[in-house]
Symmetry: C2
Subunit: 345 residues, 2 copies
């Protein structure tokens, strides 16, 4: 693109565009292979030659062409991160963690959003697959079969999701949910509703199961309330159903829904937590801003993003790691203002 106007006095033998290893080789008086080796397999040349080549490359402002490098090696040095919804604050931590880990390893991160649609997610994965060395699926809306197919195409790691034969980074949901259940129990709640997330969400099922299991073991009556989209609107939309239920406390699939629910409840004149306790998951930006603040089960998502990339990178080196997974990452309760004892009266 940066085509310098041709025809000027040539200080250097006619270099158009970016310098190549041939330009470096000529100037350094060595062969192109030597330049390649000096730059990409340090330590395999005489220190003197390597030094000379490096200096010459530096002087010329040489930068290896990634496409040219990728062609013979088959390694693009690029990773993809697939997200269901980039505006969901829950992905921040993941994105930042993944970005950092990728950059630290010299990899570039491609981020693609599929706006909560499974088919779109698959199409995106297929589209980016050929330009990357591996894929991290965060908040995937794909079923196991589709994920398996994509996993055969490229090394892949899942976050917040498990699927046969694929490496994954998942939360230890029970840990945080146990704390949450205990918290609600101590506050005197017995009827606890779970406002469900998208049917295609793997964590939604894990959260529901954990709540059901832990709730029962504490003698709570736990039941499911249909949710809808995992958004503010989805949460608000579930309010009618929550109000119609016997629940004195509800746990929403995520904080976005919990906040939506909270706002709908307050608009309806309900006292939270006096008349209804509300809790969520993820501890997103915003959960601490509401009145009352949202009680939530948090997880180290930034760390999860980092680990997903690290696991993927390890897999690129040793394909047999394809199935291995990190131990589940811990979750914990952050008790805030939206949960409390029922106001007497």
């Amino acid at each position: 693109m940066s085509d310098l106007p041709v025809g000027g006095a040539d200080q250097t033998p006619e270099i158009t565009g970016a310098p190549t290893i041939y330009d470096v080789a000529r100037l350094a008086g060595v062969s192109p292979s030597t330049v390649s080796r000096a730059l990409s397999s340090p330590g395999r040349l005489s220190a003197k030659t390597e030094q000379l080549v490096r200096q010459t490359a530096e002087q010329l402002g040489f930068r290896a062409n990634p496409s040219a490098r990728a062609l013979p090696t088959g390694r693009t040095m690029t990773l993809a991160l697939l997200l269901a919804d980039i505006t969901n604050p829950v992905v921040f931590g993941i994105v930042r963690g993944a970005e950092r880990a990728a950059a630290a390893a010299g990899y570039t991160l491609v981020i693609a959003e599929s706006q909560e649609s499974g088919p779109a997610e698959r199409a995106t994965a297929l589209r980016v697959a050929s330009s990357v060395d591996g894929i991290v699926f965060a908040t995937s809306r794909l079923d196991s079969a589709a994920l398996g197919e994509l996993g055969r195409l490229k090394p892949a790691v899942l976050i917040n999701r498990e699927a046969e034969g694929l490496a994954s980074i998942v939360p230890d949901v029970d840990r945080g949910v146990t704390e949450l259940v205990e918290h609600l129990h101590l506050l005197g709640h017995v009827d606890v509703g779970y406002v469900a997330g998208p049917p295609s969400s793997w964590v939604d099922r894990r959260r529901w199961e954990a709540l059901l299991r832990q709730g029962r073991s504490r003698g709570l009556r736990v039941f499911e309330i249909p949710g809808g989209e995992p958004t503010l609107e989805g949460g608000a939309g579930a309010f009618e159903r929550v109000a119609a239920s016997s629940a004195t406390a509800v746990v929403a699939f995520n904080d976005l829904m919990a906040i939506g629910l909270l706002r709908a409840a307050r608009r309806a004149g309900l006292d939270v937590p006096g008349s209804l306790s509300i809790a969520g998951f993820d501890d997103i930006f915003g959960s601490e801003l509401t009145t009352p603040t949202i009680t939530t089960v948090a997880a180290p998502l930034e760390r999860a993003g980092e680990q997903a990339v690290e696991l993927l990178l390890a897999q690129l080196g040793q394909p047999d790691l394809g199935t291995r997974s990190f131990p589940p990452f811990p979750t914990h309760l952050i008790a805030r203002g939206s949960t409390g004892a029922l106001a007497t009266g």
Copy 2:
């Protein structure tokens, strides 16, 4: 990567890894050049041949290798989006818009964050430059000289920033600020403080200038109050200085700071807006969640992200568009609860 176990019965002449145009050519009984043409320059072959090649490619699950394509053409079909801080909700809209526009044009988007550091941003730009066809700088912390240098390396477009010789997408700050000033004026405020953002932020200066200009023309006394980081913490940290000033209303560089300020004010027992009005910029997720909700100057950031990519794409086709820019995008006031008249007494 997906090396099928070798040695099985070969239905097709030994295809290891992904199929290439040679595999398609062999199966279709045409030359590789013909396959290439059929797939990348539709309409230049007989309809019959093109159809045949397409079907064969489909049947084989052929996907052109982007690196191999990029090598002779010099086009990577990839764009980069550089962000100062990915956790700042203000970038959501930009990211989503840019992502959508890029995908629509068949481009892949690389997203890189430089965590509010100018040098890191430059290093990142240099690093990704060789793998992309162009760069969008959103919320850049670089000075004009650095941006100019990078702009000579690759086509570039700036969002929320102007720099000599570079295309940019900037807000019409005056529009929203005029509304804001009028709003504050009507509420009876005279002493208005501006809590400044980062010195390296171009929009920070535009916001301050617009506020100063519009404020003066309405007879307000507008003055600057040192801010700090453009974060919740930065806003909270400025509270002491705000309280020590004569301001009855403050406008913060962005909503993040406005929210931080609001919370610090309330912690200090101040009535907002009874004793102090607070406004921000950007209308981020969260501004509507606080109590009171945040009055803010909003902008169509998603549209801006889209336009930035469209402008960049246009530039790739016609390099002379390098300097041209879209008209400034409109901004407008969203008056909410954090601004009001001073409580009497």
